[in-house]
């Protein structure tokens, strides 16, 4: 088969993600770090799209790049704006981990199947089985929705309960109406 | 025959629009990097982004024919057209109100010491 052009995008996006990761470690200003994590999520969303993982990219763009920036900022209201000085040793450890993980991804990238390849691991084995069966079992065109809603419904229920637990936890810790203001109002 | 010519014309127009738009976007990116201070960078980011983005989106709309994707691209163009200048405006407004001074030294070689520098 001929050369897969989307791999050029994979390399470029990974390179940018590596740069953002290193910059997040180096920067001390928490504003900048929050912004850079948003950019990182955005880059990974674009990378997921470039890997033909549209659903993951969709979730990443919605949750990671968008809302988590706002929520992190809201959380920063209650903390300081500069991170505390870190011992240089721990700094270097984080840098080593980031660079090593990035290089491992680069090493693995040439072995990726071609964009949309029929014989890729995701499209053979169990995945192919779901593809074949969904048309008869569920009769919904989108296999991902069928898997999440029906085949793995129990798993999705667990996820919903985790989200619910997170909401309850925040509501218990900070009170839903926002602590001190309640006393002023009532 | 006429349909074929129409197709070629649409392709050529689309390619020209997209490449010009990408050129604008790239020029804006270079300007973001090279221009000296925040207020000049606003021009590079805000102005070229709107024009370049709209040209690329319109060029892509010509490629999709007439389908749901065309409508989605039109909506995307509308969103970018609304949000990008608004965000740029908000950024500029916030920077101005926070007291960020433009760099004026280049134009006043003598006695421009006090104004220079973004805090």
């Amino acid at each position: 088969m001929n050369f897969d052009y989307t791999q050029i995008f994979d390399y470029a996006l990974l390179l940018m993600m590596l740069a953002v990761g290193v910059a997040v470690i180096r920067l001390r200003n928490l504003f900048a770090v929050v912004m850079l994590t948003g950019v990182y999520s955005l880059l990974s969303a674009a990378w997921f799209v470039s890997l033909d993982a549209l659903d993951v990219g969709f979730t990443e763009a919605a949750v990671g790049a968008g809302i988590s920036t706002v929520l992190l900022l809201a959380a920063m209201l209650l903390t300081a704006r500069e991170c505390a000085p870190v011992k240089p040793g721990r700094h270097w450890a984080a840098l080593v981990v980031t660079v090593a993980a990035g290089l491992a991804l680069f090493y693995a990238l040439p072995d990726m199947p071609e964009y949309g390849a029929v014989e890729s691991p995701a499209n053979s084995g169990v995945g192919m089985d779901y593809m074949m069966r969904t048309a008869d079992d569920i009769q919904i065109p989108n296999v991902v929705t069928a898997v999440l809603g029906s085949y793995r419904g129990f798993d999705t229920m667990g996820e919903v309960f985790v989200v619910f637990a997170a909401g309850v936890g925040v509501a218990l810790l900070l009170t839903l109406t926002g602590g001190r203001r309640r006393e002023e109002d009532e | 025959m006429a349909a074929l010519i129409l197709e070629i014309v649409i392709d050529v127009v689309s390619a020209a629009l997209m490449l010009t738009g990408a050129g604008f976007v790239l020029a804006g990116a270079i300007g973001m990097l090279r221009l000296p201070d925040f207020y000049t960078r606003l021009h590079a980011a805000g102005v070229t982004d709107t024009l370049g983005a709209e040209m690329i989106v319109i060029g892509l709309m010509l490629q999709t024919g007439w389908s749901l994707d065309t409508v989605k691209l039109a909506l995307l163009g509308l969103f970018v057209f609304l949000t990008s200048p608004t965000a740029t405006h908000a950024t500029a407004n916030a920077a101005y109100k926070a007291g960020l001074k433009p760099v004026l030294t280049r134009f006043r070689p003598r006695g421009g010491d006090g104004e220079g520098g973004a805090s």
Partner: protein, 147 residues
């Protein structure tokens, strides 16, 4: 002139569009990528934009905190209840087949997924709005001089 006029006008234009797009993502998940998780985040984003521009108090009038709390619990409840209903109808937990009399058509699966996704949508939207209310409703404890 009112301050931030441009922002408020653009936000008023955008918020309905964001809501419509959220529901599109939710209901078009039958054909395209998307689904209740993403749609919930988008709907919550519309409320958050409203709260950012017009204030959390105005947003709390539009989407009151008690409704957020109820929706948060109701979503999880709907999901679990669907599972127990399918047990009561003689199938396994969260097996949607008996929801429609004609089991060969798999309409039961369709009905089950739609109901379950509504539950996911409610929980995700409500939890994100709740987290935003909880954090943003607090005034900062940093004095003006510090920055």
């Amino acid at each position: 002139m009112a301050p931030h006029l441009i922002l408020r006008v653009v936000a008023k234009l955008l918020i309905p569009l964001i809501l419509v797009f959220g529901f599109y993502v939710h209901f078009h998940a039958k054909y395209a990528p998307g689904g209740a998780f993403q749609a919930g985040v988008i709907l919550a984003a519309a409320v958050i934009l409203y709260a950012l521009i017009f204030g959390v108090d105005a947003a709390k009038k539009a989407v009151p905190p008690w409704a957020v709390r109820v929706a948060m619990a109701m979503g999880a409840f709907i999901f679990a209840a669907v599972g127990f209903v399918s047990i009561a109808m003689g199938a396994n937990f969260l097996d949607y087949t008996p929801f429609h009399p004609n089991e060969a058509l798999a309409r039961g699966q369709y009905i089950g997924i739609v109901v379950v996704e509504i539950g996911v949508l409610m929980t995700v939207t409500a939890v994100i709005i709740a987290i935003f209310y909880a954090f943003a409703g607090r005034s900062p404890e940093i004095t003006e001089e510090e920055w």
